[in-house]
Amino acid sequence: MTQKLALGKALNLGLRRAMEDDPKVLLMGEDIGRLGGVFRITDGLQKDFGEDRVVDTPLAEAGILGTAVGLAMRGYRPVCEIQFDGFVFPAYNQLVTQVAKIHNRSRGKLPMPIVVRIPFGGGIGAVEHHSESPEAYFAHTAGLKVVAVSNPVDAYWGIQQAIASPDPVIFLEPKRRYWEKAEVDLDAAPGPLFASRVVRGGDDVTLLAYGPMVKTALQAAEAAAEEGRSLEVVDLRTLSPLDLDPVFESVRRTGRCVVVHEAPLTLGLGAEIAARVAETCFHSLEAPVLRVGGYDTPYPPSKLEEEYLPDLDRVLDAVDRSLAF
């Protein structure tokens, strides 16, 4: 059965299904119960599963992640919502020094099947701390897995796969795409969670993106096609571990690679990807791997975010530079 779903609604249904499948799944977060979350991702779940399974927490992110550890030690599968990307930092200590290390510290005796859902990225005209892209902080932390979904199908299946994962997963949701719709097959998962995927075939340049930038990359490929340029677009989907084999395969054909993300350029995911592509595909490359990202500045006030965020033009500009090299 397929159903046309917005990304946010797909998450809601995915969470519902995970809760039905496993009574140990708990949702925890600020305003997720009665209100259904500020983006309504958990809408209706408290009503149907009760206050013990959809927990409106005190206003304390360190508490949300710290207690999730204890709950996980007794077999629960906490799914924590952080209200906005910029508010994950009170929990950062728990995530980096505890959640990420406990499996290793216990030599596998204490798995940490915790999911941290974070609406991330900009483009919604918000005030400070509501538009951040903190993925690199987590991807840099051994012991955490990091995924970023870009579409309703991956939202629906990905959240269930993340919850089923025995490892802690930072699950990044592209907040400005919550309302984007697609047909979702509710019976069959499209593939594993920790895998990248070619979402548009092409021969001239390989374009890599994840989360909110996948749509931008696809639009850029569309525009480029009108000028006779064929871009292959890869949705990275998993940021830690990275799944670059499909990328290497693609770059060996195209000889050119552009990575796009909203996060600041320096030491962003693009840096790691560029290094690995250079290491692995050196002899196939016709141009250096180029990166398009946010600038190395704090996320600006919303009147300037259009100038800060990579858009179709900046992606095409990089594509041009790659082709001209």
Binding site: E30, D31, G33, R34, L35, G36, V38, D56, T57, P58, L59, A60, A62, G63, G86, F87, F89, P90, G125, A126, V127, E128, H129, L265, T266, Y295, D296, T297, P298, P300, P301, S302, K303, L304, E305, E307, Y308, D313, R314, D317
Partner: protein
């Protein structure tokens, strides 16, 4: 009855009004009843001239008018979002007016009434919510730090500022604003521990407006918030946050004690957020209309107006004058908002560091060249 049941026993917090969902509390400092009757309190008295009373009323009324205009501007697409102070005017104006020059306020994102008393132009505050900048006023000159959106972070800043005042032998104090929800944050609790450890001249002013977005106070605390102060080792006091005179008296006393070296105080201003959390919020999802109706009976402005009229301190002409002034203010805010110039793109780069880095200078130059390219292409 167990101790826990006793501690959370439901008692009407405001005499004469029902709020059965709220935890019980015995002491509420009040100098003006919801009906606008002047009452005395054994520990807190206040000496205010008629002129000052009228000025306080004017502040309350103008701040509300500003707030109403900002909400309208958001609805019309002129602001990205607005965090309304509706219902909390007395708590904010009372606290703000208790400050002296040299004192420093550390607001959240809702303290427009405090900003007003510090003389910050409403258009500065508006510019933040319009997405033009992050506030733009000079924090030290204004005695008002920039708005802080990350819940609770400013409580530690206020404490550190107070420690600096103490070191410098300056007889001033810091005033940290926080919400009821914020009291759950680790950093807020650390701030109170630090303030106590160093006997810092800081006052924690908590507006308990009963909700953290949708989450009622019961989820944050099962004892009245002001009682927490005892555990940190300094006084806590609960004041009727809708009674501007009581707030003024209690905050003045706490700030004076801090300036005199007696250390911190925690003030719980018991109030109610009469509007939505912000313009993005829909409170009908989590609270009953009846609750709002109850609190309307305790409206902070109506009660001062009743007192001023009945006592003859202000007449109809005065109130008409304030209304007219409110309309002028609203018109100025509206005009200033819609005419507010958009920031230059290069502002993104210009104040990241005190000393610009070569890499950021390079990115800036690249940014300028890229946008010039569009202009040349006539796009």
């Amino acid at each position: 009855m167990t101790a826990l049941q006793q501690a959370t026993e439901v008692v009407d917090p405001v005499p004469g009004a029902q709020a059965p969902h709220l935890p019980g509390q015995p002491d509420l400092v009040q100098l003006l009843t919801p009906e606008g009757e002047r009452v005395e309190h054994p520990e807190y008295s206040i000496d205010v001239s008629d002129d000052e009373l009228r000025a306080v009323y004017r502040d309350l009324a103008l701040v509300r008018r500003w707030d109403v205009e900002a909400t309208a501007l958001q609805r019309q697409g002129e602001l990205g979002i607005w965090a309304s102070l509706l219902g909390q005017e007395a708590a904010q104006v009372g606290a703000g007016r208790a400050m002296e020059a040299g004192d420093m306020a550390f607001p959240t994102y809702r303290e427009h009434g405090v900003a007003w008393t510090r003389g910050v132009d409403p258009l500065h505050v508006i510019s933040l919510f319009r997405g033009v900048d992050m506030g733009g006023w000079d924090p030290i000159a204004a005695g008002l730090n920039l708005y802080t959106v990350v819940i609770g972070a400013q409580c530690l800043h206020a404490t550190g500022y107070a420690m600096a005042l103490q070191r410098d032998g300056a007889e001033h104090a810091a005033l940290a604003f926080l919400g009821d929800g914020a009291t759950s944050q680790g950093e807020v609790n650390e701030a109170m521990i630090w303030a106590a450890a160093f006997s810092a001249p800081v006052v924690f002013f908590c507006q308990n407006n009963q909700y953290a977005i949708s989450v009622p106070i019961e989820r944050q605390s099962r004892v009245p918030l002001y009682q927490r102060a005892a555990g940190f080792g300094f006084p806590g006091v609960r004041v009727d946050g809708n009674d501007v005179l009581a707030v003024l008296a209690v905050t003045r006393a706490a700030l004076a004690a801090a300036r005199e070296g007696q250390g911190p105080t925690f003030i719980e201003a018991f109030t109610y957020r009469m509007g939505a959390h912000t313009t993005s919020d829909d409170p009908t999802r989590y609270r009953l209309g009846g609750e709002l109706e109850q609190w309307k009976l305790r409206d902070p402005i109506a009660r001062l107006k009743a007192y001023l009229s009945r006592s003859g301190i202000a007449d109809a002409a005065f109130f008409d004058g304030v209304d007219a002034e409110g309309d002028e203010l609203a018109a100025r805010i509206r005009k200033g908002t819609v005419e507010m110039p958009a920031p230059a793109g290069t502002e993104i780069f210009d104040s990241v560091y005190a000393e610009q880095t070569p890499e950021l200078a390079r990115q800036r130059a690249e940014f300028v060249a890229y946008h010039e390219g569009f202009e040349e292409a006539g796009e």
